[in-house]
Symmetry: C2
Subunit: 715 residues, 2 copies
C-alpha cells in the first residue's frame, strides 16, 4: 500500500505530459520547476508538437520515451487525460500526478471522466494524485522533486504538508518558507480520485524524513478509516489540521468547490480529539503550532513559566495562557531563591518572572536554565522587549544557551519576530521558535499541551461487555425489516421490538404498557409489577401535572383502577371531554438524574454517539457530548466528564452521586449495538435516568430506527 506511493515521491524518472514551450502555462512551469529544483533523477518532456521544451529534447508521447518512467505529471486538457492515462498504463508508468482540472469538481460529465480515469489506473496498478491539483513536492536532498507549478521550492525540513485546496497550496509554500518551516513532502490531493489523506498519513507514518504532519482538509473520505489510521499515526507523530467548511456558507462553498459532503462541525471536533489530531481554527494557528512542534518537544503538562524583561507583555502572556487552560504555578522556594540570588530587588520572582528592563543576556541565560530545571514547570515562554540598548541577538543566543540540554518545551516572543530567527536556530539541539506577540506564543503552547495530554492519557481499549446476545437482536431487526415494505427509507421499531433489542444488549428499560380502560390499566400494572406510575396520554393537554394527569407510586390493581377512573372523572368535571386517549402504565423508576443518550447517522462521519443533560435545560444550553463511532472505553467516561452538567452527576449540593460508571457502560453498549447492527441509523434513550451509585441506569423512553440496506453507510 505504502510502497505503491514510492514512485510518486521518490521517482527515478519523471515525464511531464503537456510540457509546453509557452511561458506562463502550467505545463511550462511544471517542467521548469522540475528542471531547476535539483531533481536527482531524469525528466522527460512530452509534447507532440515540440522538438524540445526548456532546452530538453521532447517526446511525442509517453510511449516514445527511451525508458519506462516511474511518474507521469499530466497537464493536458481534461478531455485528453483518459487517452494519456491509457498510454501511461501501456508504458508501465507507476504513478500519475494529474494537474488538469475539469473532473468531478466541474459537474456530472467531469465525474464520469474521473471514474474512467480511476478505472484505467486501478486496472494498471497506477497510483494517482489529483486530478485538479497543484502537484507534489519531495524536498529531501536525496530526491528534490518539484512536480508543481508553484513558485516556491521549500527548504528541506521535517514537515509533511497535505492540502485539499491547490490554490491554498501556493500560499502554504510561500508562508512556510517565510517562517523557516522546512518541509519534507508537500502534496495537493485535489479531487482525491485515488491517493487520499488516509494514504498520506500511512506514508508519512513510515517516512523517516517526516516528523510532523499538517493537513488542510475540506472533507473526510472515509472517516472510519481516518479514525483508525490517524489515531495510530498521532501516537507517533503530531498531526495538525485545519478542517474548513465549519459554517453553513463555508459548507456551501466547500460543496461547490470539491463536491465533498458537508461535515458536521461538532462531530469533526470529536473525531479529531478522539484520534489525537490537533485541530486548529485558522491557517495562522496551523503554521504557529507547526513552528513549535517542528522544533520543540511536546509539552509534558500544562504548567508554564513566563520569563520577561517587561511587565506588560508578561501579563498578556499570562492571561492568554490561562485562557488556553494552561497554568502558571507559583515557583518553588528553591527556584525563587536561585533567581533572587542574581536579580535586582525590583525584579519579580513570582510567575511571570519579570527581570525588568535592565536584564542582561547573562541574566536571561541563568533564568532560563533555572526555570527549566524546576520540576513544577513543563514549558517556558521567554519574552524579550528591546530596552534602550538593543541586544536582541545576544539575548537570543543566551536563551538558546540556557535551554541547551533541557528536554522541556521553550518558545520565545521577540516582539516583531515571527518564525525561527537565525540566532535561535541550533544545529546541535532543538531550535527555538519566536512568535510576534506574547499571546500568540501562549495560544500555540496551549494547542501543543492539549496534544501532550492526549498522548499521555491511558490508551483506550475495546470494552469488556458481558451479557450481550447479538443474535437475538439481529433476529428482531431482521424480522422488523422483513415485515416492512420494499424500499422503505427507514422504519421505527415497535415498543416490543425495542425492548427485545435493548434487552439483548443488557440495557435496562422501564417496563411500560398502554391502556385505554381502567381494567386494562390494572391488568397491565399486574403484568409490570408494582408500584407503577400512571401517565395521561392526551393529544390536547400538554401540562399533564396541572390536570392531575400523573399518579405515582400505585401499589395494587385497585389503586390503579381507582386512579384511572379518578383521572377520567376529573378531566370531565374540568370540561376536558375526550381529552384522554388512555394512559401509560409504567414501572416506577427510582429518583435519578435525567439524561439523554443516543446514536445517529451523520452523512459525512458515519454513526455518532451522544450524551447530554435531559429536560428543558438540555435544549437551551445544548450541553451535549458527541463522539464518532467506534468508541474506546476511555471515550465514554470522557464524554460524561466533558458535560458542563457533570457536577449534577457527581452528587451536587449534598445529593447522592449518580451511577456514572453505569452510564459510561451504557454508552459502550450502545456503541457495540450499532457496531453489531449497522441497520440501526437512529437511536434515542430519552429520558434516561441515571440512578444513585451502584443502581445503574434505566431508559424511561426509547426509539430506534432501522434501515434495510447499508447503502448509506461508510466503512
Amino acid at each position: 500500500m505504502i510502497d505503491s506511493l514510492i514512485p510518486l515521491f521518490k521517482p527515478r524518472s519523471v515525464a511531464v505530459i503537456g510540457a509546453s514551450r509557452q511561458a506562463g502555462t502550467i505545463g511550462n512551469e511544471i517542467l521548469r520547476n522540475l528542471l531547476r529544483c535539483g531533481f536527482q533523477g531524469v525528466v522527460y518532456p512530452v509534447n507532440p508538437h515540440a522538438h524540445a521544451v526548456h532546452a530538453v529534447r521532447a517526446s511525442p508521447s509517453v510511449l516514445d520515451l527511451p525508458e519506462p518512467v516511474d511518474l507521469a505529471v499530466v497537464a493536458v486538457p481534461a478531455a485528453r487525460v483518459i487517452e494519456v492515462a491509457r498510454q501511461c498504463a501501456q508504458a508501465g508508468v507507476k504513478a500519475m500526478v494529474v494537474i488538469s482540472a475539469g473532473f468531478k469538481e466541474a459537474g456530472e460529465q467531469g465525474a464520469r471522466l474521473e471514474e474512467e480515469l480511476t478505472t484505467i489506473a486501478r486496472d494498471a496498478g497506477i497510483r494517482i494524485v489529483g486530478p485538479n491539483c497543484l502537484g507534489v513536492i519531495n524536498a529531501s536532498d536525496e530526491v528534490r522533486l518539484d512536480a508543481t507549478f508553484a513558485p516556491t521550492f521549500p527548504t528541506p525540513g521535517r514537515v509533511g504538508f497535505l492540502t485539499q485546496s491547490g490554490a491554498l497550496g501556493v500560499a502554504i509554500l510561500d508562508t512556510g518558507e517565510a517562517l523557516g518551516l522546512g518541509l519534507s513532502t508537500f502534496v495537493s490531493i485535489g479531487n482525491k480520485a485515488d491517493v487520499s489523506a488516509n494514504d498520506m498519513l500511512e506514508y508519512w507514518e513510515e517516512d523517516p524524513d517526516t516528523a510532523l504532519i499538517l493537513l488542510y482538509l475540506e472533507s473526510f473520505g472515509n472517516p472510519r478509516k481516518f479514525s483508525r489510521i490517524a489515531r495510530r499515526v498521532a501516537a507517533r507523530k503530531p498531526i495538525i489540521a485545519v478542517k474548513s467548511g465549519r459554517s453553513a456558507s463555508g459548507r456551501r462553498a466547500a460543496t461547490s468547490h470539491t463536491g465533498a459532503l458537508a461535515g458536521v462541525d461538532v462531530a469533526a471536533d470529536a473525531l479529531f480529539w478522539q484520534t489525537g489530531v490537533i485541530r486548529v481554527d485558522t491557517m495562522e494557528e496551523l503554521f504557529n503550532t507547526a513552528l513549535l512542534l517542528a522544533h520543540q518537544p511536546v509539552p509534558r503538562g500544562r504548567r508554564v513559566a513566563v520569563l520577561t524583561n517587561a511587565g506588560g507583555p508578561g501579563i498578556l502572556a499570562a492571561d492568554a495562557c490561562e485562557a488556553q487552560g494552561l497554568t502558571l504555578p507559583q515557583l518553588s522556594e528553591h527556584t525563587r531563591a536561585r533567581l533572587s540570588a542574581f536579580l535586582p530587588p525590583e525584579a519579580s520572582v513570582r510567575n511571570p518572572v519579570d527581570m525588568i528592563a535592565s536584564a542582561s543576556p547573562e541574566a536571561f541565560e541563568r533564568a532560563v536554565r533555572i526555570l527549566l530545571e524546576d520540576d513544577d514547570i513543563d514549558s517556558l515562554i521567554a519574552i524579550f522587549v528591546p530596552p534602550i540598548v538593543t541586544r536582541a541577538q545576544e539575548v537570543a543566543e543566551a536563551i538558546k544557551a540556557g535551554a541547551s540540554g533541557s528536554h522541556k518545551t521553550i518558545l520565545c516572543n521577540f516582539l516583531g519576530s515571527h518564525g525561527v530567527p537565525e540566532s535561535l536556530r541550533s544545529l546541535q539541539a532543538a531550535s527555538i521558535p519566536s512568535f510576534t506577540f506574547p499571546e500568540t506564543a501562549a495560544i500555540t503552547l496551549g494547542r501543543a499541551a492539549r496534544y501532550g495530554e492526549w498522548l499521555s492519557r491511558p490508551s483506550g481499549a475495546p470494552a469488556d461487555l458481558p451479557g450481550i446476545d447479538a443474535d437475538a437482536a439481529a433476529q428482531t431487526i431482521q424480522r422488523a425489516l422483513a415485515g416492512a415494505s420494499e424500499g422503505a427509507a427507514g422504519l421505527w421499531l415497535s415498543p416490543d421490538e425495542i425492548a427485545e433489542v435493548l434487552g439483548a444488549y443488557g440495557i435496562r428499560q422501564a417496563r411500560q404498557r398502554t391502556a385505554s380502560t381502567a381494567d386494562e390499566a390494572a391488568s397491565a400494572a399486574s403484568h409490570i409489577g408494582f408500584p407503577v406510575a400512571l401517565k395521561l396520554i392526551s393529544q390536547t393537554l400538554t401540562h399533564k401535572t396541572d390536570v392531575g394527569g400523573v399518579r405515582l407510586g400505585l401499589r395494587t390493581p385497585e389503586e390503579v383502577w381507582d386512579a384511572f377512573a379518578g383521572m377520567a372523572r376529573r378531566l370531565e368535571v374540568a370540561g376536558h371531554h375526550g381529552a384522554m386517549q388512555g394512559v401509560l402504565v409504567q414501572e416506577m423508576v427510582p429518583e435519578g438524574v435525567e439524561i439523554i443518550a443516543g446514536a445517529s447517522l451523520d452523512p459525512a462521519l458515519g454513526m455518532l454517539l451522544m450524551v447530554g443533560l435531559g429536560g428543558v435545560h438540555a435544549e437551551i444550553f445544548k450541553d451535549v457530548a458527541v463522539r464518532v463511532h467506534p468508541l474506546e472505553d476511555i471515550d465514554a467516561s470522557e464524554m460524561i466528564a466533558g458535560l458542563r452538567a457533570a457536577p449534577l452527576l457527581k452528587g451536587y449540593r449534598g445529593a447522592p452521586p449518580a451511577d456514572t460508571g453505569a452510564l459510561a457502560e451504557l454508552l459502550l453498549r450502545l456503541d457495540r449495538l450499532i457496531s453489531d447492527h449497522p441497520q440501526i441509523v437512529d437511536l434515542d434513550l430519552n429520558p434516561l435516568k441515571v440512578l444513585h451509585e451502584g443502581q445503574g441506569v434505566v431508559a424511561v423512553d426509547a426509539r430506534i430506527r432501522v434501515q434495510p440496506t447499508e447503502a448509506q453507510r461508510f466503512g
Copy 2:
C-alpha cells in the same frame, strides 16, 4: 481640562532634565529623539555637569533657561525628581513628562515620593505624564514631538495610542510602523499620577488629528468616569482596547507591575460593551482592528460578501465570518446575473463568489463594484491568491478601482501581505488594508461590525420609574446603620428593613413571616392573607420536600394550624427530633420563571448589576448577565436578552411568556436604588419569580448589606 494638555502635546519649547552625554542612557536618547524628529519648537538640554549635549548648549537647571518652557521631560533618578519638580514650578513649566522609575511601582517609599510629586504639580498647575513611563509623541507635521527613548518615530496618521506599559510601547511603535498604521499621538501613561486614560480620551475627542483611539490598559482608575467619557467619545471615534490582567496569574503580575487593583474580567467586558469600546483579546487583534478602522468606514451591518479567485481561502473566510456572527447572504438574482454576465461558467456566483484562478484584474474590478452595489451587502472581503502568473499589483489596483466611490467596508486578503501595501493605498479615497490570512480578515471585520451595531443601537436614556420614595429608604438604612456598632464592615438588613427598602422602590416581595408554634403560624397567615405556603425551617434537614416540610396553598387559619402540627408530628415519627426550628409562612407566589437578580461592589469597577437563571442550573451553567452601574434603559433589556436561558422567559414549549418587561424595570429600579443609596454594597433577590406577562415579578427571598461609609466606593 483639555487645554491644560496642550503644553504636553503641542509645546513651543521643551527642556530635557537629565540630558546625558553618555550614549545608551535614557537621558541621552530622549534628547537625540527630540533633536532628530523634526520638532518645530526649541529644545533645551538641562545638565549641571555638561556644557553641551548632542552639541546643544546645556543649562545647569531649568531655572537657568533663557525662556520659560512649556514642557519638561524628566530623566533623573527618582530621588532627585522632587527637587526638579519644585524648580519646574518655580520656572513656570506648564507640563512634565516624568520618565524616571522608582515611584508607586517600587513600593511604599516610592508611593510617598509620587504623592509629593503630585502635590507640587497640582499646586503649581503643572500636568504630569508618568512617572515610570516611556514618554509622549505628537507625530503631526505641525509639531513633530518625540519625547520618548523609543527607537521609532511613527509616520503621521490618524491613530491616538495610549499604553499603560512603557515596554510594550516600544513594540507598539515598531509594529505600528511595520504595518503602515500612522499615528497622531502616542502616550505612555506609566503610573498615571495625573494624566489618565480618561484625560486622554477627552483630549482625543477634540483633537482633529485623531480619528481612532487605541488603548492598552492594565487597570481602570475611575471606572464611573471612564464609562461616562468613553461612551460619549466612542459615539464619535472608535476606541479599541486591550485590557490585560484577565487571568489570576495575569492579575498577580499586573498588581506587582503597576500596583493597580485587580479587575473582574466579566465586568470589564460589560463596561466595554456598555461604553462602545471595542475590546479585543490580543495585541495582534488590536493592530488588525486598528488597520481596518483607520482606513475604512465602520460596517453598517453584519452582511458580508466574500470574493475570491480560489475556493479554499473563500471557505476559510466564510467559516470565520460565521464564527464571528457575520452572515454571508445569498446574493440577489440581479447581482448573480451581473456576475454571470462576465464570469466563466465554472465560476460560482453564490456567496462566496469564486471567480476561479483565471480571474483577471478587470474581473476583480467589476465583481468588487457589483458586490458593493448590492443592497443586501454591508462589507466585502476580497481574496487574491496568486495563480501561475502573478499579477498581485494589478489586482490590487483593480480592487481599489472597483471600490472607489463606495461607502461600504472593504478589506483584502492578499496571502502573505499584512498592512496596507502601496498598491492598496489611496490618496483620494480610503486605503484598503490587507490581512495575511482570510480568517484574520473575517475576525477583524467581526470586531468592527460589532462596534457598528453598538453605534446604531437606540441611544439609551435614564429610565422613568414612578412610585419611588427615596427618603423612606434612606431613613431605613440610616436607622439600621445608626444601630450598628462603630466600624462595622457591613451590616445585613433585617427582613422588615428589607421589606421597607424594596417597598420604597416599588419592588414587590413575597410577604412572609416566621413562626415557631402552630398558633403563631396561623396568626401570621391571617396577617399575610390567604392562601399561604408553609416551609420548614431546619438547620439539619436540607431536603425539605422529602420530609414533608413544604405545604402549599393553605386557605384558612385552621389548615395552617393543622399543617404545622402535622409537619411537627411527622418529623417526630420519622425520628427527626428537634429538627424543626419553626416555619416560614409565605404568601403563595403564582407560577413563574425562577431568576436571580442583584448588585454587588467590585473593587475595581464599582457596583455591578447582574441577572441570571435561578436554581441549580444557574450555578452549573453560569448563565448570568452583568453590567456596570449605572444602567441606561436599553442595558436592562439587553441583559435579559443576552441570557442563554432567555427562551425560557419568552414562552418556551407552549408555556405562557413571562413578564420580561417587568424584569427589565426591576433591574432599573435596583440600579436606581444603589445609585440613591451608596451605602448598599450587596443586594440579592434569590429567587425572584418572573410571573406571566402583565403580572410582574416577585422577590421570594432578598438580602441587602449596607456599609456605614463610602470609603471603598469610586466616583
